[in-house]
Subunit: 249 residues, 2 copies
DNA sequence: CAGGTTTTTGCGTTTTTGTGCAGGAATTTT
DNA sequence: AAAATTCCTGCACAAAAACGCAAAAACCTG
């Protein structure tokens, strides 16, 4: 990995998460802590970041203070993303939906991962594009402005043509009785196609949305292979799903 | 292998992968590392790539140059965008390529305009998405990270299926003798398809790029209907194109 | 086509750059 | 106050770049 490339990656990470630990960076990119420190120093000299003890901060960090709720669920989503990343290995063909949880997954992908990511979600695609080693394929069709995702028959037809190794679904509502449900008809059609075109289906959701129901059904619990939340797998909230035969992490 | 040929190959590789290692290059083409380094130096001097220790990076890699150059020619591009917008009317089906000039066009679209915009350029799509009244259709396929545009046979096939009212091409080089030329093979394929699928082809370019040539040919002057620059239509620089039968604005 | 000039290329040698390591200083945490 | 990180400094080593030079190729040109 080239030096400039590495620094660009670091800068991207800092701007993304507003902070970065040199320890975690040197774990992600496999270089010595010294190198990271020198990179941070250089970036700081250029005024791109603020260097602090143990890592660096984004320049805009001081001013912008996130709402407690935002930061709160952000951490939950980071946890979920980490668990999900453990399921991805090199060379995989990965299908993802949209949503903020998927976005967090996209942002947390380790830089050395080599895989192909397919999505119709514009924000997710933007994140994938910044990654140095993954191939990005976008599903084309009309863009739904409120969900920022491509929807329509063309998109569905394209998804049907593929067979992904794994599919990550950002989930709006999951319930032991009603399964996965959502509130946007077109997005639901897309998710259905994604589920059918994947060997393995993984649902990502924060615990807030567990045991909630939305108007339109995506699929039953038997169609999903795994459920990932920020909770421990043996949390009692998740018991019904374990009983229904869903793997929980 | 000829020098020019070799440099064209290198440039293509850089545009394709965003980065290139001089070590891998001198293994691919069987020449000494010195020769590669000299080639990279020349290409860097011409501003085609950014040379770094160990190889080279694509120009779009660091957004620093993007912004400085952007600020510099922003006003020219705004002028161009305004002229181009005059050609769009309600209900039209508009096909656009990528590039910063197209981006400026996207940003300057009047809010009351109702039309359908089709593109494979992710930055352009992002701008179109913010517009209240236009329908946005994205061309799906693999994303070329350096040009941030979808490229590949699927994308070309999709474009072939449509017939747009008008097509706006961001142009990298135009010359009275060689026509429109570019430096990325895959992007050229896409532009060719766009030209064929449109009733009317409009080239947008800042005057800097008029009378310049790039390695790969997109089309001749007879294939385009209109050329828009920030200059006055009767500017002597544009005379050769008027003589060649191109409408100039 | 012969002879000269320019361009291009490869090869040592020397410099520069990038990276990791060790040990001690500084800072944070407990 | 003690322990644990993190940081800085100097140093060593490897990789890459720069430089000068010479051989080879290409290219004029009369």
């Amino acid at each position: 990995m080239l030096k400039k490339e590495r620094q660009a990656y670091i800068l991207h990470q800092v701007n993304l998460h507003n902070k970065v630990l040199s320890s975690s960076l040197c774990a992600e990119i496999k270089v010595s802590e010294d190198t990271i420190r020198r990179d941070l120093q250089e970036l700081a000299d250029e005024g791109k970041i603020i260097k602090v003890h143990g890592g660096a901060l984004s320049h805009s960090f001081n001013q912008v203070h996130f709402s407690t709720n935002g930061v709160y669920s952000q951490n939950q989503k980071k946890t979920i993303a980490q668990k999900a990343i453990g399921l991805i290995s090199n060379g995989m063909f990965v299908l993802t939906s949209g949503g903020t949880t998927i976005l967090e997954l996209a942002r947390s992908l380790p830089p050395q991962l080599k895989a192909t990511f397919v999505s119709g979600s514009i924000p997710a695609i933007l994140e994938y594009m910044h990654h140095p080693n993954i191939e990005v394929i976008i599903i084309g069709d009309k863009i739904s402005k409120n969900s920022k995702i491509t929807v329509g028959s063309e998109a569905i037809a394209k998804i049907r043509q593929m067979k992904a190794d794994i599919c990550f679904l950002g989930t709006n509502a999951i319930d032991a009785e009603h399964g996965i449900t959502d509130n946007d008809w077109e997005v639901v059609q897309l998710k259905k196609a994604m589920i059918e075109s994947s060997k393995k289906v993984v649902c990502l959701t924060i615990s807030e949305k567990v045991n909630t129901v939305q108007p339109i059904k995506v699929c039953g619990l038997n169609d999903i292979d795994m459920l990932i939340t920020e909770l421990s797998p043996d949390d009692p909230l998740l018991k019904p799903y374990v009983n229904a035969g869903v793997r929980v992490a």
